[in-house]
Amino acid sequence: MGKEPSGHAIDETRRRLICELAKLPAATVLLSLTGPVRARAEGDEETDEHHYAMGIQIDRCIGCGLCVEACKVENDVPDEPFYFRTWVERYTIYEDGEVVVDSPHGGRDGFRPRSEDEERRVLRSFFVPKLCNHCDNPPCVQVCPVGATFKTREGVVLVDSDYCIGCRYCIQACPYGARYLDPRTKTADKCTFCYHRLRRGLLPACVEVCPTQARVFGELEQQASPLHRLKRFEPLHVLKPELNTDPKVFYTDLDGVVR
C-alpha cells in the first residue's frame, strides 16, 4: 500500500478494477471512464504527488514548429493564427543592436529566412518556444471570479470550460500571453500540459514530437529524469521572474532580450 495523497483516500476496489481494465484492449477508453487515474511515470513508487514541470533548451530548438502543429492536432485547437496553446518565437539580434522578433503563424509551419538577413549582419539568432508556464503562483487563477481556472495538486493549471463565464480577466492577467478565448466554446483556453496524456503516462504532444529534445518534461521531485539533469547542470531561467509568478517552465540558455 503506497502513500495516501493528502486529504483523498484511495479506493482499493477501484484501484483493482482499474488494473484489470488496463489489461483489456481499448484500455485507454475504459480507463478514462473510471475516473481519475494516477499517471504512470518512471520510477513511480505508488506516490500521488507528481509536480510536473517542463524544461526548454534554447540551444537545441531548431524552429521546426512540429510542437505547434502537434499541439493543435492533439488538443483540437482552432487552426487560425489567433489561437495558440504553444508557439515558437524567433529572435534576431543584429550587429547594430536592434532586436527583431517574429512568429509567423506561431511557427506552426516552421520559419523561412528573413529577407533582411541578406543585407544586415546578424549577431545572434535563436528560437524560443513559449507556452503556458503553469505558474506556481498563477495570476490567472487569482483573478478568476468564479473558480473556473485552478491549479491541480500536480501543479497543472487547468480551465473548467463548463464553468467559465468568459469574462476574460484571466487572459488579461497572464503576463505571457498564454491564454486565448476559444471562439467555439466562448471560454478561456490554454495549454494543459496535455493533462489527458499525463494521466495515462504519456508525454505532452509537443514534447513527444520535438526532434531535438529541446523540450524536456518531468517531475520536479523525481530524482531521475531529464528535467532533473537540467536542474543540476544548467543555469535555469524563467520568463519575467520579477513578476513573482513562479513559472514551472524552465529555460536554459535564455537570452536576456527574451520577454
Binding site: 483523498h8 481499448a26 485507454t28 478514462s32 471512464l33 475516473g35 481519475p36 487515474v37 540551444d59 537545441r60 530548438c61 531548431i62 524552429g63 521546426c64 514548429g65 512540429l66 502537434a70 492536432v73 492533439e74 488538443n75 524567433r90 529572435y91 534576431t92 509551419d109 516552421g110 520559419f111 523561412r112 529566412p113 538577413d117 546578424v122 539568432s125 535563436f126 528560437f127 473558480g147 473556473a148 481556472t149 485552478f150 491549479k151 491541480t152 495538486r153 487547468l158 473548467d160 463548463d162 464553468y163 494543459t192 493533462y195 489527458h196 496524456r197 494521466r199 495515462r200 504519456l202 508525454l203 504532444a205 513527444e208 514530437v209 520535438c210 526532434p211 531535438t212 529534445q213
Partner: protein, 257 residues
Amino acid sequence: MVGTQHGATMARRRRIPGQLVRLGILFALLAGALLYVRGRFVPLTFGELGHYRAAAIGTLAAQSIRFAGMEACAECHDDVAAVKQRSYHRGLSCEGCHGAASAHVEDPLASTPAIPKERQRCLRCHRYLASRPTGFPQVLERVHHPVKACVECHDPHDPAPPIPPSECAACHGAIARTKAVSHHWSLDCEQCHAAPAEHRQNPRAFLPKKPTERAFCGQCHARGSDAPVGIPRVDLAEHGGRYLCWQCHYPHAPEGG
C-alpha cells in the same frame, strides 16, 4: 390614520419604527431566497479539492488522445524502429513526419498515417536558417539538389547522406560561408580545430578543440614569424594582456583590412 396616532406616539417612542419592520421583513425574505438559491445551485463537486469543480478534472482527463507516441509505433514496426534508433533521426518521433497516429494504433486497418515525401517536409527542419543552432545539419534550399525529392538520396529512417560528407561545412555551413569571404578563407577548419573522429556521430559529446595558447595564432601573427608578408603582426608580449586571441577576435571573420 395619520392624526389619530398622535396621542399614541409618546408611548411608541421606544418601539422599532414601522419602516424598519417593513424593510426588515423584505430583506429577510431576499436573504432567505439568496441562501436557498446558493444552497441549491452550487455544483456538487465544487470545493472538494479547491475552489473549483472537482468534476472538471475528470472531464479534462477524458479528452481523446491523438498522438500515440514513439513507443507505440515500435510495438509493431520494430524493424523500422530499430533502424531509426541507431540513426541521426533517433530523437525524431515517428508521428513528427507521419502525423498523429493514435487512431492507427487503435485500429491499424481503419486509418493509415500519411507518408510524406515532398521536399517541404524535410526542409521544414533542414533548410538553412541563421537562427538554428550551430552544427545542426542544414542545406541551402535553393542550392542543394533543388529539383530532387530528399527521399531519393536520404532514407528518412536512416538519413545519413549516401556519400558521407568529409567537409565540416556539411553541418557548419554558416561558419564555412562566413569564413570563405574572410581573411582566413585559406585556412582549413582542421588547422585550428582538432576534431575527434566521434564528433561526426555524436557532436555534442565529442567537441572539437580550440587553440589554448596565444603562440598558436602567433605562428602567423607574431612579429618575426615566417608567415607571408601582408599578414598583420602584433607584439604578443604587449598585445591583448591575459586573453587568448579568440577571446576577443572572431577567427571566422577577423577584423582588419
